[in-house]
């Protein structure tokens, strides 16, 4: 693999990892509040169709992004209501959300007088910041020339990191995720914090979904995101609940997704590797990385919120 192949591969990995960055950061924020939302796949799909629909009708990408985020957040309220207000099992509620969201996105794509399904997008994100600084060796071609959403994802990561670890709201968020009873005795409204952060998670999942339907594959097709939602949930663990690490976890996954094809173009001996084996690569990588991170002493430093997955009963301490 020569230098230019490597750079082109890494450049593509950043693009393929970008929707995962959004989905993973969103889920980290949700899980930091002690709520496990397994509905990411469903929220991403609904965001994908909603964003595509808005852009299809207005030719406005910004509007598409906003609508996708609103749709993801709106869907997440279903999970918030079930798991926070009604205290249903978060696992069950999240799984139901994925099943519901998957069906809903396909349904929305096929309904109406002019169904979206099979239509190319009316607008798509174009590369920006090309030329000039892109001549810096190695770093230049990797950093410049992406579409704007890649840069938005970097800002999102930085902002999420700052919010979770450096603000008062972030402190409340982490307190609710670690020990909701203590947080409440300190005057934090546990239910409200969980609602808000489930919705933030939903909004970013919707945004990640829209990156597929507006940038990576600018067409509406049923379930155009592969298994991205599930991958995001695995990446949260890989990122050990830190937004900054989510960036690298997502790019690692994007690289694995891309390398299975790059290797096939490199000729002998790479082309002798069975492609089915290569297709498993991202998933093997995720499993190995998670095992390495969650086994033995390292698990203690992983930083999973202590109250993750537990419903909070105020009167039953």
């Amino acid at each position: 693999m020569n230098e230019s192949t490597l750079i082109l591969t890494l450049f593509a990995a950043i693009g393929l990892g970008t929707p995962l960055v959004f989905g993973t950061v969103g889920e980290i924020i949700t899980e930091r509040a002690g709520n496990l939302n397994l509905g990411v796949q469903g929220m991403m799909l609904v965001g994908a169709v909603a964003g595509f629909w808005a852009t299809f009708n207005t030719e406005n990408l910004l509007l598409g992004v906003i609508v996708a985020m609103l749709a993801g957040a709106a869907l997440s309220v279903v999970h918030a209501f079930a798991s926070v207000t009604l205290r249903v099992s978060q696992i069950v509620s999240g799984l139901a959300l994925t099943i519901f969201g998957t069906g809903l996105s396909s349904f929305l794509g096929e309904t109406g007088s002019e169904p979206l399904v099979g239509e190319p997008s009316k607008a798509t994100f174009e590369p920006i910041l090309e030329g000039g600084l892109a001549d810096i060796p190695i770093l230049g071609p990797l950093v410049f020339g992406h579409d704007i959403m890649v840069y938005v994802s970097w800002i999102t990561v930085a902002a999420a990191s700052f919010y979770v670890f450096r603000t008062r709201m972030g402190l409340s968020l982490r307190a609710v995720g670690e020990d909701p009873a203590s947080a409440e005795s300190a005057g934090v409204n546990v239910a409200r914090v969980r609602y808000i952060h489930i919705m933030i998670g939903g909004a970013f999942a919707g945004l990640g979904g829209a990156y597929y339907s507006l940038a990576l594959v600018p067409t509406w097709q049923n379930e155009p995101i592969g298994q991205a939602g599930w991958i995001c949930i695995a990446l949260v663990i890989l990122a050990s609940w830190r937004p900054s690490r989510a960036l690298f976890a997502a790019y690692l996954f994007g690289a694995a997704e891309r390398i299975q094809f790059t290797l096939q173009t490199l000729g002998e001996p790479w082309s002798n590797v069975p492609s089915n084996l290569l297709a498993m690569l991202p998933f093997i990588l995720a499993i190995v990385a998670m095992l390495a991170l969650t086994s033995g002493k390292r698990a203690r430093f992983l930083g999973a919120p202590a109250a993750l997955g537990l419903p909070y009963f105020r009167e039953q301490r």
């Binding site: 096929e110 169904p115 995101i225 592969g226 096939q264 492609s275």
Partner: protein, 374 residues
């Protein structure tokens, strides 16, 4: 009554009201949709003095994919317009043993002719056909038949060869990328015919194959196309049902050879042409034979001469000389004076070998880069 019970009641009420809302909607929809067609069939039944025959189609993806399943659905619509039929269409039915239940449900529901349009339905459909001997089962792209199951497919390689000619003429880098689905004979025939066509007009052209192990996974197929473009390919061909490879080619300023249908709208400036399908006349003839009692469970292999296979409209960048050349070859294929695969044939290693049975083809021809086993 304590708080817990109230919550339970709240959930139940919520669930029931959702269910009621969903069912209410469905009932109305069903009533509306069934009312109109049943009225229609009554009138036609009175006129034809015959009852509509129930025909079912089972697809692996959405019929709106504008690709493989869409082409079959166009055929179903042609059938509906030309025969007294009542069509049931099932989309996105996964391949594998679970599909047997789907075929049996359709047979039990009174469908008399059932078409399954994807390779992986072969064994489940064969098993279902043994349980419903009076129903005609037809499987596309497979190689098995049974007392109650026929199979059908067409010589896509004829269209592939012609689309390969367009690709060979369009490439400047002499490297054509091919996003391939699964290493099965159908796909290998397509790649080989495409390569032979490309090399007829451009002996230096080589075809780099990348396998995705998918029939329909747009992000994956797009990523595979991008890896080929990054490796220096300036024309992309593909086998899967999504337009994602074409959109990658369009974004990179490269050219694109599609498959199944005219997909110009997805990548207007990249579009060259494609091997395409016209299933309608075959579906009509099969159902007519069944109604007349002449249907037999045989294997049918259509081609360019009977119209099942064709080549899509050309993109703007295909020059007239190339079009003339392609049309000349097309006429020769139709009148039988030109055959796509020579016998013996040069394989990937540059050695001559007998062509053998093309339905179990397991090798690449000279000029293909990649592994024929996936």
């Amino acid at each position: 009554m304590n708080l817990r019970n109230w919550r339970l009641i709240a959930i139940l009420v919520l669930a029931l009201s959702l269910l009621a809302a969903a069912c209410g909607g469905d009932d109305e929809g069903d009533a509306a949709t069934t009312a109109a067609p049943s009225g229609d069939t009554e009138t036609t039944a009175a006129a034809d003095d015959a009852e509509a025959i129930k025909v079912a189609f089972v697809h692996v993806g959405p019929v709106a994919d504008k690709g493989w399943s869409w082409a079959h659905d166009q055929g179903a619509q042609y059938l509906e317009a030309n025969a007294n039929v009542e069509i049931t269409t099932l989309e996105s039915i996964p391949e594998g043993s679970d599909s047997q239940r789907v075929f049996e449900d359709l047979a039990a529901a009174g469908n008399q002719v059932i078409f399954g349009t994807s390779f992986g339905y072969m064994d489940p459909m064969l098993a279902a056909s043994e349980n419903f001997p009076d129903v005609a089962f037809l499987h596309a792209t497979g190689f098995k038949t049974g007392p109650g199951m026929g199979n059908y497919f067409g010589a896509a390689e004829e269209g592939r060869y012609l689309s390969g000619m367009a690709a060979g003429a369009a490439t400047d880098s002499n490297l054509i990328g091919y996003v391939a689905a699964f290493p099965i004979p159908e796909v290998l025939r397509g790649i080989n015919a495409f390569t032979l066509g490309a090399q007829e007009v451009n002996p230096d052209a080589q075809v780099q194959v990348v396998w995705t192990s998918t029939w329909f996974d747009p992000p994956k197929e797009g990523a595979a196309a991008k890896s080929l473009l990054d490796a220096g390919a300036d024309v992309i061909a593909m086998h899967q049902d999504s337009a994602a490879p074409g959109q990658e080619a369009e974004a990179a300023g490269a050219k694109w050879v599609g498959y199944n249908t005219d997909m110009t709208e997805f990548a207007p400036s990249a579009w060259l042409t494609a091997a395409i399908w016209d299933w309608g006349p075959y579906y009509l003839k099969t159902v007519e034979d069944f109604v007349a009692g002449n249907w037999e469970a045989t294997a049918y292999y259509g081609n360019m001469a009977d119209g099942m296979v064709d080549i899509a409209p050309y993109g703007d960048s295909v020059d007239q000389a190339t079009i003339d050349l392609i049309e000349e070859r097309k006429a020769q294929i139709i009148d039988g004076s030109f055959s796509v695969f020579p016998d013996p044939i040069m394989n990937q290693d540059g050695a001559e070998q007998p062509l053998g049975d093309i339905f179990s083809m397991d090798f690449f021809v000279e000029g293909v880069i990649g592994s024929p086993t996936g």
